[in-house]
């Protein structure tokens, strides 16, 4: 299985998938930390991949969505954005709506 296939199956299998540096409990990059904190705050169930533990994924994820930086957030297989976009959506209240619309977060 190529790394692109691996990533495709990860984002298809997990409704909310975060590619990050480090883990939600021990993030190793400020930008990754922000995104995982936002997801934690919204109490979304999500899976994460620590790209620092897998060089192939670390490079492959940049090609996967033609996006040069990490973190990257995927919902139902769809690329949502990196730290700036997720943060902006959160601050403007759009992220929660988006997650509810996608059926990955229960309406409060």
């Amino acid at each position: 299985m190529s790394v692109q296939d691996t990533i495709r199956s990860q984002v298809d299998k997990n409704d909310v998938m975060l590619y990050m540096k480090g883990t939600p409990t021990f993030p190793q990059c400020g930008f990754s930390s922000v995104v995982s904190q936002i997801l934690n705050y919204l109490q979304v169930d999500y899976e994460s991949v620590n790209v620092l533990e897998d060089m192939e994924i670390r490079e492959g994820i940049k090609q996967f969505s033609n996006w040069p930086t990490i973190p990257q957030l995927y919902v139902k297989g769809e690329f949502v954005g990196g730290c700036d976009i997720v943060k902006e959506m959160f601050e403007e209240g759009e992220l929660k709506t988006y997650l509810i619309e996608k059926g990955v977060l229960a309406e409060a």
Binding site: W67, T69, I85
Partner: protein, 87 residues
Amino acid sequence: MTSRQNRIEVRLRADFNPSDLKVVDESHTHAGHAGAGDEGESHFYVEIVSEAFAGKSRVEAQRMINEALREEFDTGLHALRMKTKAA
């Protein structure tokens, strides 16, 4: 002004004809962490207002910037925070 900062400014002005543009080198705030590099000029913040982003989603607008700065990413630009606005 650092050289990458200068190149980013020139490129963004040429590609997007922005009505407002701010390019900030934030590398010093990341000094010493993985990817920061010894030579600095690895972390930047861009705030740009351009009609080129009208009707574009956030992902599309940021993708346009990433594309324009591909050479910089290939040569050591590690992180780019950005805020894009259409007007």
